[in-house]
Symmetry: D2
Subunit: 346 residues, 4 copies
Amino acid sequence: MSKLGVGVIGVGEMGKRHAENLARLVPKARLVGVADTNLERARSAAQELEVEHYYNNAEALVARLDVQAVVIATPAKFHPPAIQVAALAGKHIFCEKPLALTLEEADAALEAVRHAGVSLQLGFMRRYDPAYAQAKKSIAAGEIGEPIIFKSIGRDTEAPPLAYFESGWNGTLFHDNTVHDFDLARWLMGDEVIEVHTYAAARALPQLAPLGLFDSGVVNLRFTHGSIGNIESFLDARYGYDVRTEIVGTKGTIQVGSLGDTPVQVLAHSECWRHTVNHFLVRFADAYVLEMRDFVDTITSDRLPQVTGLDGRQALAVVLAAERSFRESRPVQVAAPALRAAPEHT
Amino acid sequence: MSKLGVGVIGVGEMGKRHAENLARLVPKARLVGVADTNLERARSAAQELEVEHYYNNAEALVARLDVQAVVIATPAKFHPPAIQVAALAGKHIFCEKPLALTLEEADAALEAVRHAGVSLQLGFMRRYDPAYAQAKKSIAAGEIGEPIIFKSIGRDTEAPPLAYFESGWNGTLFHDNTVHDFDLARWLMGDEVIEVHTYAAARALPQLAPLGLFDSGVVNLRFTHGSIGNIESFLDARYGYDVRTEIVGTKGTIQVGSLGDTPVQVLAHSECWRHTVNHFLVRFADAYVLEMRDFVDTITSDRLPQVTGLDGRQALAVVLAAERSFRESRPVQVAAPALRAAPEHT
Amino acid sequence: MSKLGVGVIGVGEMGKRHAENLARLVPKARLVGVADTNLERARSAAQELEVEHYYNNAEALVARLDVQAVVIATPAKFHPPAIQVAALAGKHIFCEKPLALTLEEADAALEAVRHAGVSLQLGFMRRYDPAYAQAKKSIAAGEIGEPIIFKSIGRDTEAPPLAYFESGWNGTLFHDNTVHDFDLARWLMGDEVIEVHTYAAARALPQLAPLGLFDSGVVNLRFTHGSIGNIESFLDARYGYDVRTEIVGTKGTIQVGSLGDTPVQVLAHSECWRHTVNHFLVRFADAYVLEMRDFVDTITSDRLPQVTGLDGRQALAVVLAAERSFRESRPVQVAAPALRAAPEHT
Amino acid sequence: MSKLGVGVIGVGEMGKRHAENLARLVPKARLVGVADTNLERARSAAQELEVEHYYNNAEALVARLDVQAVVIATPAKFHPPAIQVAALAGKHIFCEKPLALTLEEADAALEAVRHAGVSLQLGFMRRYDPAYAQAKKSIAAGEIGEPIIFKSIGRDTEAPPLAYFESGWNGTLFHDNTVHDFDLARWLMGDEVIEVHTYAAARALPQLAPLGLFDSGVVNLRFTHGSIGNIESFLDARYGYDVRTEIVGTKGTIQVGSLGDTPVQVLAHSECWRHTVNHFLVRFADAYVLEMRDFVDTITSDRLPQVTGLDGRQALAVVLAAERSFRESRPVQVAAPALRAAPEHT
């Protein structure tokens, strides 16, 4: 069996990890090369992962005949153009979240994918996390009855530097973090969010306020079938990386999430304490591997992806409604998918 | 030292517990008698607690010269008239939450208390819970920096029978349960809630919908100084009685809450499991004792109560705003306290 | 219904608690009086608990006609003479653990009880702890199959002052602490310990070594039916009061024990921490109440006690074998009960 | 930099994992080939890991010039001959635990290693587990004062089939499992075990008794400097794979160990439950990778291994004393290392 040739576009922290996983832990894939606007970063990643080819632009990488699929891990603003470049070249695509910063760009990218007839998978890796996957299965098995309340918390250990926000490349807290929870909400509830209400603030990082950004937010959710929910996001928790989700059902509740870095507990001075997880690459290490394997399997077996472009588009629609609710101080309805948006892989 | 003579008005589940605590675990108090519109219930409680006097009306109990203070634990609708009866008789008052079902009734009751110059303490017993008390102390000590996000969950094990709701005596879920979390929000954040947004539903108990009631709700909070938050309430969790609060600060986070009924864990069949707490009288047993002791101490030492009538009034104001937000599908501002409402004990 | 008149002999920390529980939380009992060789301590306890009678000797207390039962909570060395005084006066007896410091004294005390025809209950309060009681029930229900390994840990927060050990009144660590675990071993396994092997040390409190005492010990256990086990005891854990038991069965395992003082968790500085329990009167507060109630019920309903003198005698036999194993550096068999020791209440 | 050529001898469950890690996750190593007496198993592993060379005997593998080091993961009985074959060929060696089944074979193997001047590392992977490594560091940093009690529990999910025991290739429970805890005892306490006492039983798997084997054991430990301890092992826990260690010190205690498979908790029917870990390859996945990396680094940088042949020899000495204690029903002293055994790598 020949292996699927894959290229990685953008080898910052996240793209580097995808490249490592492809090179080492996805037996059916072969990492062919990497591209990054920072050529030195591309070169260094290529060397470390022992691949020959590296480029300072996506076009050169997707032009290679031995590249059948690409992983896009650039800043969010550049996801849609990278998708279009790859689609045009007829390559299958894995794209990190969020799909785009605006619905217009998202729809344009989906249109390009549809036109090219390639596969597109979105990087909602939590769906591959063994804990979340088990929760999904438990709900499907009826362990908690009918799910009626969705709760989620996502807290980052430490905010990135101000330049990260000033670039405008990553959107708001909702684009960058909460989008994961919006995807979980849709996936675990088996329902669509139709309206949201947001309070947000910039009290831990007041320097975000002049940029129109916020460090924390609480988003109330209303679903099509009447379920309700709330998501809290915060990007400077300090104590660790803390992602927790809870689905309340008519017969019981499922909780996903834990903070234990290592199973060590120290007991002294009338207290017991343990270290916390501090990075998403630690908490979701397995999920990223499983996600990449599934991406490759999807293509080699010509299946539809489990996490589609439409999933990316709808999570983004919730992001934008939540942001607008913040700006307009009122509940905002979530934009329904354009009719043509449905089956992007035929 | 002579003991403070106390009477209990309403000896249902909650009032009975207060009476027991007064009779056995509050050395400075003497339980003088009990009153309940159900005379048989009053008689039975009196017999069990070995007090001579029981009545089928509050008036007779407060008329006794050896009663210096009363505990009111009737259904919520009857709190204001009971407060007025007791205040008129010059008795100090402990009143269960909520203070009233409407602000008008609350303000009338507070006016009666002010006019009579008696003490009024509200039954927000969580403030006396060792865990919540420790959280308050930790926040005051700066352990988490400045508090910026308030989260709370309150889930009851099982909904009361439909008649409980049909009576109209207990208001909505927000009057009956969430009022505790609204009080915690004010107390732990050291700030006032100024606006709320609510989604609520009746999916577990659809029979509530025709009554205009709901079984679950998520309430977004905005505070005066810019903090934000969310409270979830549910009255039919099935798995147990689950109260959890989390305060996120600029330097760390405090969590209060646990489910462990008894510290027993069974490991078998690839799983480990433990029983859950299923009743507030279990979870907050200590809090109720400490609360009663403080109520008695407050009076015998002529101090101001730690949980005032104004606290009851403001928590109710948030309840009413949250309910209105549900009915009007928009964020609603919280009514500010009437100016005269301030010092009710002089 | 008239109440059972009870006197308490020895009102140090433990006896004081029993007296409080009898006065306040055991409705069927009436605390008649207390005795303590320290008259001032007796007087002060009597005053606080509002009983008239206090004495500086047990004889005076048991001579009272309105005393039908006594609780003995003196230092261990004085348990047997106190039992004999009470039995001679025809009073029913609750005696704290251990029954005695030697088997000879234990057997003499049991003989006096048998001769007097009174009831004797031993103070193994863990059997009344809701968690341990649930474990017992789970085992009986077959949840873990057949129990085959018994493990237990008992650690005190802080060692008492040296004078406590120098008095010789309390025996070794095994008499004072481990005796609880030996009782649990017999009760939860439904089997007798027949042989033990001990290593013990005095490394945290080297001042105990010259007294022939130790601060810590590990005791291997062998049971009649072939089960095995181990108990660890330590009297200076510093971090808190930590009692944990685990029973491994052929189908699963049950764990009893937890350290959480209050359900508060603080997350900051890459760590999460919580306070620990630091006293047995906190950890076992409920057990002590339930134990006293059962003692009183046993007498008023003329039942056999659930924790008998023979239980006290056999736990002591294991204590003595464990101590001897330490002194003789070899496994030691546990003395079988004298044949006549069986039914002490007829 | 050229990579270290490594061959793996024995590709059952454990050897297969080492081979995978070498092939994918140890960048400085190159997996050259595998050997297994079962040629088909060797072939299949080679194919899956995409290496060309596979053999049905160790001799052929070690004869390759491009093999500089070997990993031995045969049944325990064949560790010493495999070590001798590899040493004779001048290859550096990583050997799974236990070093051997008897001290004589162990010493002969160590002698061969010493004579050949090659490096030998023993497979005590727990030392590489992040949790155990953190515990070691905390102890070294004085967080718990002086360590005085060592406790450890090791329970396997399910016993292997009877043939595994009948072969005689793996020794007793102490050789196969407890040897890990004996190594931890030496490493974490920084001290040698000098005497042990054992009770063991075959109540869950009575079919082991006729083979002179046991399914469970409790081993009391005494250390050179006076510390004490206990280790419990069980090979059929059913509920999961459960490894926990606790070191009690004069100022505090450290606990290592947890059961959580995935951080999912289900709450329903008055209970909360979670799945357990069920395999050592899951619990110690990271440790096995870190261990292999360190093995390769040790050789390429010409350092002494962190886990030496002597460590393997001393853990085995404790194993044999524990087994003898079981057979002779008495405490048994641990054989001191032969004087010449000390520095095996010069």
